[in-house]
């Protein structure tokens, strides 16, 4: 068969799949190869399909025979929560830096574990932004507490603890009672955020604690009388 004739190619093309997979019987294969020798277009198609055929062994039919795996339905919400917590932590850090420039001496004199409790702010949102003080080198913990009917929404931002550390978060009420807010595992070398909740009302919350491994860090919370 003469090459470069589209009509002729139409006859041979459907065999190219079996050909590049090495499945074409001898006679058919020889006839096709005779065509390929004279037909640059079919040769190019065979080469291109051959590249696809060489990928097939990489795929596991046991995997692609199953429906595509999907993440948990709430992953999108968790990501939105983590981004929201970072936004709040970023705003809090900016406020903290502004506050530091005004009151550096007071900050330096702060004792015990907790150094700063900043007022909630902006748009009348009665959130509490808390930065933990007196932490080991490299460790940073910020938290944002927001009031809800059910209690308090707690966003915790942690950086610098050992990856894999289980962190337990709790709030302390006016009589020193401890109300859990939840746990999360810090896994990253850089930072992490967690969205948790506690049944304790924010107006009754006096402190927040983060137990990271065998260390517990506390910071005071006083919505009625925020230190600046």
């Amino acid at each position: 068969m003469k090459a470069e004739r589209p009509d002729g190619c139409r006859e041979w093309r459907p065999l190219l799949g079996a050909y590049v997979l090495g499945d074409l019987p001898g006679e058919e294969r020889a006839a096709l190869e005779a065509h390929l020798e004279g037909c640059a277009r079919c040769r190019a198609e065979a080469e291109s399909l051959g590249a696809v055929a060489r990928l097939l062994p990489l795929a596991d039919p046991g995997r692609f025979g199953q429906p595509a795996p999907r993440p948990a339905a709430d992953l999108g919400r968790r990501i939105a929560g983590a981004i929201g917590a970072e936004q709040r932590a970023g705003r809090q850090r900016r406020r903290w830096r502004a506050g530091l420039s005004l009151g550096a001496a007071a900050a330096a004199a702060a004792v015990a574990l907790a150094l700063f409790v900043l007022p909630g702010g902006g748009e009348g949102a009665p959130e509490e932004h808390v930065e933990f003080g007196a932490l080991p080198g490299g460790v940073k913990i910020y938290a944002t507490l927001a009031p809800h009917a059910y209690g308090t929404e707690v966003h915790v931002y942690v950086r610098g603890v050992r990856s894999g550390t289980r962190c337990r978060v709790f709030l302390r009420g006016p009589r020193g009672e401890r109300v859990p807010a939840g746990t999360f595992t810090y896994r990253w070398g850089d930072d992490s955020t967690a969205t948790l909740s506690s049944a304790l009302e924010l107006s009754r919350t006096r402190a927040i604690g983060v137990q990271a491994g065998d260390r517990t860090f506390l910071a005071p919370v006083d919505p009625a009388n925020p230190a600046t």
């Binding site: 795929a59 596991d60 939105a80």
Partner: protein, 169 residues
Amino acid sequence: MQSGALKRERDVREAYAAHSGELYGFALRSLGDSGLAEEAVQETFLRAWRAGDRFDPQIGSLRTWLFAILRNVVIDLGRARAARPRVAEGGAEPAVEPLEEALLSWQVEEAMRRIGEEHRRVLVETHYRGRPYAEVAAELGVPEGTVKSRVYYGLRALRVVLEEMGYEG
């Protein structure tokens, strides 16, 4: 999504709706653990959001950018996992598939899912199960030539899907 930035929550929501399934599929294929895979996807979107200003659609698609971030996240997670102490069982190290190969394998598997059922079926029966074309044709009640033709169009369909997924041969 419009223009460059991935800075608004709405942008992130749209990007998540469009790409989270694929990103999760690759993360799961690479890491072999659904919890770690979700963590990898979450970290990918967080990093994308933090660096949203740097995304330039003139350079590449959002999908390509997210996959590049995920690739780094998977490498970081792999390192973190390697650094954790292991409980030795018979001295065997867990087999870790090289990342590029995992990505390619995932792409081919995902492409196989996306081609038509008729095409996938003949490729599975003839190539993966090694059955004779005549036997497959008899089972499907079609001429053998139709099976060959479906194999051909199946490979073409795979090529199209792989190109859509960014495979450049």
